[in-house]
Subunit: 197 residues, 2 copies
DNA sequence: GGTGTTTTTGAGCGATCACTCAATGCTTTT
DNA sequence: AAAAGCATTGAGTGATCGCTCAAAAACACC
């Protein structure tokens, strides 16, 4: 059977992403991928070249999805700062079974590969940097709208904000009780909203 | 040659810890351990039973060292809150070559093993919990000394503080530029010190 | 329905994995 | 200095790793 290529490829990539996200690069074997993608080794290699390349494609897929979700969230908010606050609180509202209820895949990826796979590590840092620059742009918009003082340091705020998101999602990963997650997200969101003029 | 057992064992454990800390559980092979510990496979297994057990011992060694360092730091400070602030800033001052200039081993361990090795994951969470309870006890002392309001929620503050430490150390892991690390640590420390009555 | 092209298959490749154990030292006891 | 007691050795275990490729199956076109 010839696959309707782009469609099935997207499906397979999404499944690979979930598996890699959950188990990490080193702990995921080709056997695992064969079972999850419902593909034999030959097909996997015909379609994705290597385990490393499949991981890179999965990471890109994760990044694009995450960034799109973030941008939508920010656009729908009543203001830049409100959007960022809502972003934090939305993690705390993730339902128990949600696959996103764990650490950011980029965080996990960097921890997993920084000292063993420079190619993956570098791409991961690139993606983290791009998301951070989205945060910085949002702080810039807040300044332009008079929501933040004109002398606020957007890059510094973005770094701080990203650190908060990373930490919050690591708590999800840990399985911290829901009420403590809500408190933590609330603390972070309040701190952010106190910057408002 | 018969080893002076407890001494050499400590040396070996420290070397194993460094290696596991750097590469992670799954990416570290027995070959790597043989080279780092200067021991042949037979000796390693005679001394440590299994790779998993050696990892657990390394993790315990890390925990004990880290906890001791933290307690000394807190004792030497002029007040509980000052000690916690100093703890944050001390990470930012770590020299470029320092092996500690990366993510906390407990953080990395949980990311690496949560969905592949329940035994390790559980121990890791236990250690993280114990460190958090040290933080909570410090906030309690701050309350007793009148440094914090009597109705402050020590556990909530401890969770927030630990999240900050995790995030700050992840930035070290990422190789974020020194000046940005200093800013981030400063932001976190100031936020903490603003709790002071 | 025959032909040419493309895709899928899965047994099996060499390398490496975590790990074992009979043989070999070294040290202590006598 | 011989014997007994242990820690150390490293070649070798079966299993699994990421990956290949010749054969088979499924398709498109005429």
């Amino acid at each position: 059977m010839v696959r309707a290529a782009p469609y099935d490829r997207e499906i397979a990539l999404d499944a690979a992403m979930s598996l890699f996200w959950d188990k990490g690069y080193h702990a995921t074997s080709l056997k695992d991928l064969e079972a999850t993608l419902h593909m034999k080794p030959g097909s996997i290699y015909a379609a994705f070249c290597s385990k490393e390349n499949l991981y890179l494609l999965s990471l890109e897929h994760y990044f694009k999805t995450a960034r799109a979700r973030l941008r939508t969230q920010l656009q729908q908010a009543s203001s830049p700062l409100a959007g960022l606050g809502e972003h934090l609180r939305s993690y705390a509202r993730l339902s128990q079974g949600d696959t996103a209820r764990q650490a950011c895949m980029l965080t996990k990826s960097l921890v997993d590969t920084r000292s063993t796979d420079p190619v993956i590590a570098q791409k991961t840092q690139e993606y983290l940097g791009q998301i951070r620059s989205d945060f910085a742009a949002t702080f810039d918009r807040a300044k332009a709208l008079g929501e933040l003082p004109a002398d606020a340091d957007s890059n510094r705020l973005a770094r701080r904000f990203q650190a908060n998101v990373t930490a919050l999602r690591f708590e999800l990963h840990q399985g911290t009780p829901q009420d403590e997650i809500l408190n933590l997200a609330e603390d972070m969101a309040r701190e952010l909203e106190q910057l408002r003029i």
